[in-house]
Symmetry: D2
Subunit: 290 residues, 4 copies
């Protein structure tokens, strides 16, 4: 063929397939969202429209990729989780990451006017996201990853709620508030919120305190009496190599039928995972009867 | 800190920094653009609006990332090139690729209504792109990569122009046209175009025959008498390790001032590179006098 | 410092740390052992001296690296297994592999005269080994890996025993024997061995049929009544991040005290693993009372 | 086949092919040679027998692998260099590194009695080496790597020569000598050597000052008048993709015929490389007429 002379350059493409049978987390982050949130006047400490837009974009990605198991979002970041059995794109890292980043960006930019009708985007200040894939060898560590993000959400939200109360209600400068909060622990911030501003942090919206969990909904199950620790160490017992292509395609179809939901609940304790066994097992549950 | 118990999960993030002093090419491709072009009625064989939109998105990316040296686009793909001296994001592969993919997607979706005013995008059919990074050890191989893409552009465009002439003008079915073209060489296709449809392929628009080159414009230079092969084997003589941060920032500023241009010219022969020595040297040229 | 001008070349060293909390198998293979076994007159189908030398070298490696959990050898290959908790050399792949390959080679060459007193090595035909590291995400897959090697041992030994009986006893040429064995299954080979040569394969030495397992010996435990599948899916429940350096060093010392044994037993069934729970748990057992 | 049930574990082996057309350096280091040199009574600051043994092992490796271009050794480390055109083992990193490490170890252990006839090795204290592969994109950086090692050799040898003179001749304790040398520059050490011990460092053996260069010898060439910098930036102009297998095999044969020599000369300046153009070009030179 005419172009064979140059075609050798393809040899420089190196494979980047992730290890089989590991959990894959693709975490994306807003690029320069501090500046962007100023530019488009996001409300402090939490802009409900911006968070709803993040969730809407995440739902788009979940619907587009039935291989995704669950996603968790907080602030301008989102973590998307593939099950160990996932064989999408032969588990090529760059392909998985860029597909999610591009799908998320497209959905975010496209739906912006719906959530910010009075703040049109400008070409020179478009929202963009970067991303990376990380592998976790078992369900226990995957759950620790999810817990890490939700604990982070809590810590940041408590800080931000206190900080912006001091600034917006208390009339302090940013520098003054930052200085006073330095070295404080959770109870200190709770106390400041309550004593100075009459705010009981526990009554703050779950949305802000817990972040957003996105997943496919099936019939919830009763946590079995047996053991609360089961979920945490549950084994992924059927490697993909024993699932035929037909079976995989069937599972994909079942997943497409399921409703994608957004919730603001605790994902650190076992309960969430025990009631939704399809998340760790990778096997679709029963579609709830309406 | 409260979240230290889970923070160990960060240890699973593995570094992906690319080798220093190599050329980095990030190539992005439209996902499912065959279906997408049907959905939104792209013209065949080339839709000028769609190509203009690709170029507009590429220009956005080039302006956003002054570290980029040159880009080349054809059909629904674009290759972005970082110079060996590039230290952006510490050369982390996923960060470089996702930043380009996200910026390109955002610019493409945002500017769609400008190029397709009568074909509004739908949430369930948003254009997205995947991408990957490839390293090339020297300028000679980088140029072979660029030549590979431009030869590919030529081959595909000749084929598509002939195929769609046979279908749209000649009234053949897709299958008939495909079958007749099987095994033909360039001269056969030129002959079909000319004898049946009076089309001289040489007179087709350069835009379609050459694809699009995007780069920062400085004063063109006369190719030196010395040697036509120089450009092809030119050395990158000053490793980044000897460029201070201040020097790098200065170069970045100079690049931001330069105009980003889109051209449809030959990039296989030496001439293009000899007249624009800043592309392979990585050193900004002189801003042209207006 | 005087050499700072060149020291930047260190930046080209790329990290190769393996993923935390995975099982690491380093498999080494003799290079050109077909030729080597001819050169030094190894007996067919199995040379007991050569296999004893392989095992002696493996024991040396196991003693040298207390972080190793278990090893399995057959013919001129050996697989060495590190537990998910292993942090040796920060899990750098090249360091782990080369340390094992070099230690094995040194022990093999050094001990050669003891096992082949009448066949002195020659400089131009020294035995060498190559190696690679592979990661397995959980104990179940690690056990499948071990089973794979032992099944392979069985298949090859049955073939070789039959082939060499046909050649050495039956007087066939290599080509004739190879041809007749083509397409045969296990029962065919058993039949040939028994009917032609009066050999009952079941009575062949376990050493040749099962290969060699090398590990640290502690007090064997009774397999618990509970479940035969437990061993196969046993969780590694305490990630290394929660083991202090002192604890790790203590475990290393306990391991150094244990006796390294070589056995020729089944490692496919659960029994082997259930009786030796320290292998999958990574926690040293009790030193047997003499 | 009978073992297909377990064979899926092969999917966990990840490719590790190095980038085409880069220089590959495999550097190996003695493991725990400080302790080993005490154990076997190496002379200080340089043990000629130990260095000769290192070189003998390196020559063995060079002869075994005609793909190797050059090697450089100092103290208990050795760097082996593959040309960008090298396609050995499909450039698989672990295979290249372990083959060199194992070959070096075997040759070192085997030849030990020849160099240390009165110091027999013990099984519990065998010399071993670890190794790693590093890629360098062009000849200029490869030469900087070689220069880095030779500058290091000089720095360490000057220090060690001074230190051991102070201890062995001057009667100082190790701690005293170390303390006095702290913060000194080269001229200080030269002065100590000369004024206290009458040693002119320049007259020390080239072997110790320059380390050892090992390569295939062809007819030396006159450095061309043109330019002293040519060698440093010389291009590797013919990518392997244009070399047929037959051509590669022919080159390999030519290399096997060449004599492998060990020299103690400057490899930092251009002269060494200009006179031996086959090293950077990768093309065998003319066999010298005897």
């Amino acid at each position: 063929m005419a172009n064979s002379k140059y075609e050798y350059v393809r040899l420089f493409e190196q494979p980047d397939n992730l290890l089989p049978q590991t959990w894959i987390v693709v975490r994306i982050d807003g690029r320069g969202f501090h500046k962007l949130s100023d530019k488009y006047g996001f409300e402090k400490p939490n802009d409900r429209r911006a968070l709803d837009l993040m969730n809407a974009a995440a739902v788009s990605v979940m619907k587009d990729l039935p291989d995704l198991t669950i996603a968790y979002g907080v602030s301008d970041e989102y973590s998307f989780v593939f099950h160990p059995n996932c064989e999408l794109f032969e588990r090529r890292s760059a392909k998985l990451v860029t597909t999610i980043v591009s799908g998320f960006t497209a959905a975010y930019v496209y739906q912006w006017p719906k959530f910010f009708p009075d703040k049109p985007l400008q070409l020179s200040n478009l929202p963009t996201f970067d991303g990376r894939a990380v592998q976790y060898p078992n369900a226990s560590i995957l759950r620790d990853y999810m817990s890490w993000r939700q604990v982070d959400c809590h810590i940041n939200n408590l800080y931000n709620t206190t900080f912006w109360s001091m600034v917006l209600i208390g009339g302090m400068t940013n520098v003054e508030a930052e200085k006073e909060l330095q070295g404080t622990v959770s109870s200190d911030k709770n106390e400041i919120l309550f004593s100075r501003f009459g705010i009981n942090y526990n009554n703050e919206p779950e949305f802000f305190k817990k972040g957003s969990v996105v997943y496919r909904q099936y019939q919830l199950q009763e946590p079995e009496a047996v053991g609360t620790t089961t979920a945490h160490t549950q084994q992924d017992d059927e490697p993909i190599s024993q699932l035929s292509r037909t079976q995989q395609e069937k599972i994909r179809k079942l997943r497409r039928k399921a409703q994608v939901v957004v919730e603001h609940v605790d994902i650190i304790k076992d309960d969430f995972w025990l009631r939704r066994p399809w998340l760790l097992s990778g096997k679709p549950g029963k579609i709830p009867v309406e």
